[in-house]
C-alpha cells in the first residue's frame, strides 16, 4: 500500500521554502524595505565621513526606517569611519540601533592596516567584517541595491 504524505509535513516543507527564499531575497531585519541602498566610503576625508552618515540619516528620515535598507560599506582609507575611536561613534551607534543601518568593514583593508600599524585596529561594535568591501558592494548590487558614493 502506497503511504501518503501527512499534511503537517507539507506545511513544514512549505514554511522552509518560504523562509529560505526570504533569507536570500531580502534582509530578515528589513522585510518591508522598498528601497535598498549601499553607501560607499573609501575616502579618508573627515568631511566625507560626515557626509556618508548624513546621507544615511536623510534616507532613513525620508523613507522611514522600515521602508529603506541602508548598508554602509567601508574600505581603503574610509575604513577609519568604523574604528572604535572614531569621533562619529555615537552617531554610528544610533544609526545602527535605532534605524537598522548596517556597517560593513573590509577585512582586506584591515589586514593591510594591521601590517602598517603593527597591531590590529579595533573596530566599532556595529561594524560587521566582510572579506572584501568592493566584493560586498558587487554582491549587494546584484541583489538589487543601488550604489551611492557620496
Amino acid at each position: 500500500m502506497k503511504r501518503s504524505i501527512r499534511p503537517w509535513a507539507w506545511l513544514m516543507a512549505l514554511f522552509c521554502l518560504v523562509a529560505g527564499s526570504q533569507a536570500f531575497a531580502a534582509p530578515e531585519d528589513k522585510p518591508f524595505a522598498e528601497k535598498k541602498i549601499v553607501l560607499q566610503i573609501s575616502d579618508q576625508d573627515a568631511y566625507k565621513q560626515t557626509l556618508v552618515l548624513n546621507v544615511a540619516s536623510n534616507l532613513i528620515k525620508h523613507y522611514g526606517p522600515d521602508k529603506v535598507d541602508v548598508e554602509i560599506v567601508a574600505f581603503g582609507p574610509g575604513l577609519r569611519l568604523l574604528f572604535n575611536d572614531n569621533s562619529n561613534q555615537s552617531r554610528i551607534d544610533r544609526l545602527a540601533e535605532d534605524s537598522g543601518v548596517k556597517f560593513s568593514a573590509c577585512m582586506n583593508t584591515m589586514s593591510k592596516m594591521t601590517k602598517v600599524l603593527g597591531h590590529e585596529p579595533k573596530l566599532n561594535r556595529d561594524a560587521k567584517p566582510v572579506p572584501a568591501g568592493v566584493v560586498r558592494i558587487i554582491d549587494l548590487v546584484d541583489q538589487g541595491y543601488i550604489l551611492i558614493k557620496p
Binding site: 579618508q44 576625508d45 573627515a46 565621513q49 574604528f83 575611536d85 572614531n86 569621533s87 592596516m113 600599524l117
Partner: protein
Amino acid sequence: MQKTLLTVAATLLAGLSVSAHATNWLQLQGTEPGGSTDRFKLWGFIQPQFNYTSNSKLPVGGWSGQNAVFNQIGPDLKSSSTFQLRRARIGVRGANFPLDSKTNYFLLIEAGQNGITELSDSAVAATDASVTLNHIPYARIRLGQFKTPGSEEGLQAIHVFNYINFTQVTDNLLLERFFDGDGSNIQDSNRPNGSVGAFRDIGVQVFDWFNWLGWEHSYAAMVGNGNGINRMDNNNDKDYYLYWASERVFGNSKGARRECWKLFGWYINGKRTLQFVNGVAGEQDFDRKRWGFGTTFRKGKMRAAAEYIDADGMIFAGTDGGAVPGSRNNADTATSSFNISPDGKANGYYVDIGYKILPKLELDLRYDYLDRVKNIDAQEREFNNWTIGAQWFFNKKTRMLVNYEIRDAKAPNFPSSAGPNQILNEVDNRVTVQLLAIY
C-alpha cells in the same frame, strides 16, 4: 568595609565615561577628533582693525603736555588713531599619522602687529607648536608651546572672542609682559625684553575630560618655563598650573560656541627674575601667583560670563607720570618707563552678557573692574570700564565687531585734585572696529 569601598568605587566608575562628542578649550586646542582627522589641515584667521581715542594729553606732572600712554594704541604706542593688522595667523594641525589617532600636532604662526611680533622685533613668530599624546586613559599629554590652562578670557580661542580688546583685569594681570627691571632706573624705559606671554608657555601638560553624573568635567595640570614664548627659561624655577572645569552641556551642540553652562577654577604659581629693583642692580627672584574662578553660559540667543581674578606679585603698574615709555620729561632729567610692582597685590573681575537680537546681529555689554597694587597706597589704582559691543555675522566665519569702551580710572588714596587723579581723568574712551575672517 573594603567591600563597601569597592562597591562605591565601582559605582563611581560606572557613571564615568569619556565623552564621544564633547568639546572644551583643552580638547579643542589640544586634540583632534579620533578616526576622522586628516594628516594636514590648513587654517587661520585675519583681524584687520581701526582704533581711535581722542588723544587727551597729560595735564600735569613731569611729562605735562605730552602724550598719555593710556590714550595711545599698543603695542607701538605712537598713535591714538591707527589702522592695525591686529592678528594674521596661519597654522596647520592634525594627526601626523592618520591611521593612529593617538598622536596629534598643532602649529600656529603669527604675522600681525601685536605684542607677540612687535615686542620681539620679529615680523613672524610662532604662537603654538605642540604635540599631544593620547595613549593613557584620562591622562593625555601635551608638550611644546601652547595656551596655558587658566582664565577663560585667556584660554578661549581668540577668533571666537566676543570683544576686540581684553578686559583691563586680564590685560594687566594675566597678559604678561616680561621685563628686566621694575622700572626704578630713571634713565631707562624698561621696555619688555620679548614677546608678551600671550597666555602661553612652553612646557608639558597632563589633561583629559570625562562625563560624570550628567556633567562633563575636564582637568589640566601643567609645568612650564614661565618665561614667555619662543625662548627658553631664564631661571631654574618653573611655573605650575592647575585647572578644573565642569560643564553642563545642553543638547548635542558642539564646537567653540556650544551651548552649555560651565564652572571653572584655576591656579598659577611661579617666580620671576629681575635684574634691577628699587634702583639697585642685582638679580632678585619674586613670586608670581594668580588664581581665579568663574562661569560661562550659552543657550539660544543668550550668553553670559563672569570671572574673578586675584594676583599676588609681579603686578604691572603703568608708566612714570602716565607718559609713553622712552619719552624724556620736560626737564630732560628722566625717562618714562614701564613699572612693575614685584610685591604688589591686585584683584578684579568682569561680567559680560550678549544677546542675539537678529540671526546675524549680537549686542554685547561688559563691565570690568581692576584694583591694581591694592596693598601699596601710593601705587594703588582702580579701573572701571564698560564696553558696549556689536557683532555682525556675515557668515559662520566672517564677522564685524564694533566696540565702544567707556574707561574710568582713579587713584583712590589721593584727593581728586591731586596729580595722579588729574592724569587719570584724561583716560579717553576708546572706539575699535574689527573685521574677522577665519579660513
